[in-house]
């Protein structure tokens, strides 16, 4: 039974993937203290190593074109184990939504709305997202292409204006850190911005039939997102060098340093605008996927009645999830890259392998 019957085009899907990755550019702050001037190398490595995972997600979508991740789990692992796995996925999606909501609050509290209470920022942001989520996948993804274009335009402008601040010696010394740091950095890039794309497996049946060419759209969205991320890491390293590890928001500092003329400075407002737009998309998408998974798990016909209450839950969860930014960084750098691999690599690959061994789905093959 389809809870949300709304359909999106394959290109909307592609731009949604791109927008989702672009929204994670703030999260490069997890990377910079670990790999410093070599962040670009691990970002390239993480992007290349992640391509087989994109193939695995595509194969799952192609094998089960009419099923979302929760339904695939039940088909492949059976009702009890499948539902148990889906419960774990629900916790994962809810945690991701709350973590991203918290990132919005951290950014706004540090930069623009310094004296505004956290609960006010989060409640208002969650309310706007809830409005989009209420109308389903079509509304959540409708403006993704516009958001991607705005993000690319602002990134291009920032690159042009930051050229005079860039120093190529900021990339030196190269490959001078302990090997463990490269492993950790690559793992962070693969799990935090890229691996979170696993959420798109929940909307597989909502994409208008493009069974054979869906890989092209997956890769197109991934390429746009990855190139944006690489450009951001390149620009921040070229401008800030080793000092980027000292800032909680390296990209924001880069924009702060740009000054075209005495009358035209304070470019960081552009970063703030684009980041809020992108985070609106990412949080709305994660919010939608979370309530959809919960509705599927409880066997509901609609998810709309859960949207507002879930929003309150996300707000409370995002406030109480960490007691300090140090806890947040410790979790993002130390534990999340390891735990998230279970949901982003291990389970999807195991599902694909099991489906291949059991020759699933049987109904499709016989018809």
């Amino acid at each position: 039974m389809r809870i949300d019957t709304g359909k999106i085009t394959a290109s909307q899907f592609m731009f949604s993937v791109a927008c989702f990755i672009q929204a994670s550019t703030l999260l490069t702050a997890f990377l910079s203290p670990i790999t410093r001037q070599d962040s670009l190398i691990v970002t390239i490595a993480g992007s290349l190593i992640f391509i087989p995972l994109i193939w695995a997600y595509t194969r799952l979508m192609q094998r089960f074109p009419d099923s979302n991740l929760a339904e695939i789990n039940e088909i492949v692992f059976g009702r009890v184990i499948g539902k148990t796995i889906t419960i774990f996925y629900l916790v994962f999606f809810v945690t991701l939504t709350s973590l991203n909501l918290r990132d919005v609050d951290d950014f706004l509290k540090d930069t623009i709305l310094i004296k505004t209470p956290t609960v006010v920022i989060l409640a208002l942001f969650a309310a706007v997202c809830a409005w989009a989520v209420h109308y389903g996948i079509r509304v959540v993804t409708r403006y993704s292409s516009l958001f991607v274009l705005i993000a690319l335009a602002i990134l291009t402008i920032s690159m042009l204006f930051a050229v005079s601040l860039m120093k190529m010696e900021n990339f030196l010394p190269m490959l001078d850190l302990e090997p463990m740091r490269y492993l950790q950095g690559t793992n962070i890039i693969m799990t935090i911005p890229f691996g979170e794309l696993v959420v798109f497996l929940m909307i597989g049946p909502n994409i208008r039939k493009q069974k054979k060419s869906i890989y092209r759209y997956w890769m197109g969205g991934f390429a746009i997102g990855a190139v944006t991320l690489l450009t951001v890491v390149f620009r921040d390293t070229a401008v800030l060098g080793n000092t980027q590890s000292l800032f909680s928001l390296p990209s924001f500092e880069t924009y702060r340093m740009i000054s075209i003329s005495p009358a035209l400075s304070r470019m960081e407002i552009l970063f703030a605008v684009v980041l809020i737009i992108l985070y609106f998309f990412k949080v709305s998408f994660l919010y939608y996927v979370s309530v959809l998974t919960a509705a599927h798990l409880f066997g509901l016909k609609t998810y709309q009645s859960m949207v507002l209450t879930a929003g309150v839950f996300f707000v409370i969860y995002s406030i109480t999830i960490f007691t300090s930014t140090m806890d947040d960084a410790g979790f993002g750098q130390g534990t999340a890259p390891i735990i998230w691999t279970l949901f982003e690599y291990t389970l999807p690959l195991t599902t694909l392998l099991m489906a291949a061994i059991r020759k699933l789905p049987r109904e499709t093959r016989t018809s």
């Binding site: 203290p33 670990i34 916790v91 945690t95 973590l99 409640a123 463990m180 740091r181 950790q184 793992n187 409880f298 066997g299 509901l300 016909k301 609609t302 709309q304 009645s305 859960m306 507002l308 209450t309 879930a310 309150v312 839950f313 409370i316 406030i319 109480t320 999830i321 960490f322 007691t323 806890d327 410790g330 979790f331 750098q333 130390g334 534990t335 890259p337 390891i338 735990i339």
Partner: protein, 73 residues
């Protein structure tokens, strides 16, 4: 606290009537359980009760029990 209670009343006024009108019993039951649980969670938060964090529990479990984690830099 008063704003919180007002917020929950608004949520009930928005979400309950369609569920009652369409007689969606399962949806109504799930909504009520979830609504009450979140309401009590919000009350605890408003009363400054320290709520446990599942993410930090996982972090501590990985760090102290499983001992698989990346050390702090």
């Amino acid at each position: 606290m008063a704003y919180g209670i007002l917020g929950f009343l608004i949520i009930a006024l928005i979400d309950l009537p369609p569920l009652l009108r369409k007689k969606q019993r399962r949806e109504l039951m799930v909504f009520c359980i979830f609504y009450i649980a979140v309401f009590f969670l919000a009350l605890l938060y408003a009363a400054d009760v320290k709520l446990p964090s599942p993410a930090m529990a996982i972090h501590d479990f990985m760090k102290n029990v499983v001992r698989i984690y990346y050390p702090d830099k």
